[in-house]
Symmetry: C2
Subunit: 327 residues, 2 copies
């Protein structure tokens, strides 16, 4: 059997995004369901702020869904150690829970697994959510923001953002028609300030495999969207695809869309689970719903590493699960 999951009649029934200050100042500023200029979301710590954000995203999505019931299962994960933002922020919903860890690929991993759960016939509704918080991620993976450490040009800015989605069997909305799990790819990168380079080989592997298995090419899609390759990773992706004879037309990267390159000092662009989670909801799904786009191949991109694996000299592996979204 091939690598592709094919889905029938699975729709994104509702979705929502929540963001922080920098994200609200960027080009997508007006399109989030909520933003907090303090980045605290009413909580006392950055970690709890992220938990609040993902909880708000799911609450908004459920409000738009207009069902008297809750989704039957929930897939979620984040970057915090032991994925505590998702656990803390989503506990109070009381929805049967599958915790995920796919680094910054978690949003697509969750949407794909929610689609698989619906396709299994075991549930008729499923939710997926993911988040990241700049201040929580920076002090965990690098240094607390207060240190004011200098960042190299390849570094990305972890987004303070969250997204939540409710999928249904039947109904209306954008359809998820196909999906594919990512393979971990080790490109030999060990620099945690160059995630784009670590993830680009996995994105290329997934895109080229998806094309091959479905007999399609770049021109068949209105957009091929990656999660958070950033400026550096996006260039590398295009080089890697061209090496295989594929010209990647209409590639967009959520990490390059979230901040204004000129006005905002985000270096190589945005990253974090919340980046693709929020940009899909704030930017791409509305384009599919209004008919401006009809078919998007969507991949969140993850970098599998921990501060300790880096200290021990380990490589950073990329992974890029994908879903095909159709209007």
């Amino acid at each position: 059997m091939g690598r592709i999951f094919a889905f029938e009649d699975i729709h994104i029934a509702a979705f929502a995004s929540v963001a922080g200050r920098e994200e609200a100042l960027g080009p997508l500023g007006g399109r989030f369901d909520f933003h907090d200029t303090e980045n605290t979301f009413g909580a006392k710590t950055w970690e709890q702020a992220e938990a609040e954000a993902v909880g708000m995203a799911l609450a908004f999505a459920m409000k738009k869904w207009k069902s008297s019931q809750a989704p039957e299962v929930l897939f979620a994960g984040d970057l915090q150690n032991q994925c505590m933002a998702s656990a803390t922020g989503l506990l109070s919903f009381g929805i049967p829970y599958f915790g995920l860890y796919g680094a910054c690929s978690t949003m697509t991993e969750g949407l794909l697994l929610a689609s698989i759960a619906l396709a299994s016939g075991g549930v008729t509704s499923a939710a997926a959510a993911s988040s990241s918080h700049n201040a929580a991620a920076e002090r965990q993976f690098r240094l607390p923001l207060e240190y004011g450490g200098q960042r190299p040009p390849t570094a990305q800015w972890t987004a303070t953002a969250a997204g939540a989605y409710i999928l249904e069997k039947g109904g209306t909305g954008v359809r998820i028609t196909h999906g594919m799990a990512g393979k971990m790819v080790d490109g030999g990168i060990t620099d945690p300030a160059n995630m784009g380079a670590a993830m680009a080989p996995a994105a290329a592997d997934s895109i080229l495999t998806f094309f091959r298995e479905t007999g399609t090419r770049a021109a068949d899609y209105d957009a091929i969207v990656t999660g958070d390759l950033g400026e550096e990773g996006s260039v590398l992706l295009s080089v890697l695809c061209e090496k295989e004879g594929v010209r990647l037309q209409r590639h967009r990267d959520c990490g390059c869309l979230l901040y204004d390159r000129e006005r905002q000092d985000a270096h190589a662009g945005a990253s974090g689970c919340g980046c693709s989670a929020a940009v899909l909801a704030a930017h791409f799904l509305p384009k599919l719903l209004c008919g401006e786009m009809k078919k998007i191949l969507f991949l969140s991109t993850g970098a599998m590493m921990s501060p300790q694996s880096t200290q021990q000299g380990g490589d950073i592996y990329g992974i890029a699960p994908c879903i095909l979204l159709e209007a």
Copy 2:
């Protein structure tokens, strides 16, 4: 729709377990596919040792499976920050990968999601694996072993162990006939040296819900097996069930089976993702295969917390997904 996933014709086609020194000295000592008395599995760090262990478990399972192909998807996760044991140990297999984080419930979460993936029709084979390592976990969650910190009687001993399973649609072997995702339950416990108390309410919730939704009772099962409640959590589970009028006959806990209570100083018993992952393969599946048992309700139990969430005063949430195993 109810909480239960019902599966047809899904079998555990192959399985394997790997363990460390203490586990090999315990009552199940002779039943692991491999054990390493040095706990290093040939690696230079404890973190990489765990990665080697989970890789070995999957390699053994694949060898027993005797297929020329690899499983089509792989579900895995562990306790290390950013789940690096699974990522590092399983990278070289090149199998499309879903990273999970369910704390010590990850083994059952993975088996359940592998069953759901098979039920969706998208794949005909799927693998699940999980692991833990005493020295890696202790220095991450508490203190490095070299400190010799004293442990309270409710503390459990994180198992150095791994398990891997290959599931197929069709074929032969023990069947997974039903499954249910866990709900996170907050019992108000904040003591990271009393995980049993944090997880017992979630285990009770899952067992009582499973009984209610399937119209069954404890006497209908040859065993009701929890992952790593340990001595403390097992007593609490029985109290919580009795409060709801359910007498939990034939309850077994993997955490109470892995070490010898008298001879080995493991305090309240074993814990860690690797505990239920290895004990299912080394102890319970053989009992189902030889006909000694026919029907086991199996729940791994997870405690959702991080050192930081504990330092910030957060509660530890329990979660307990379950699967029904039938000979």
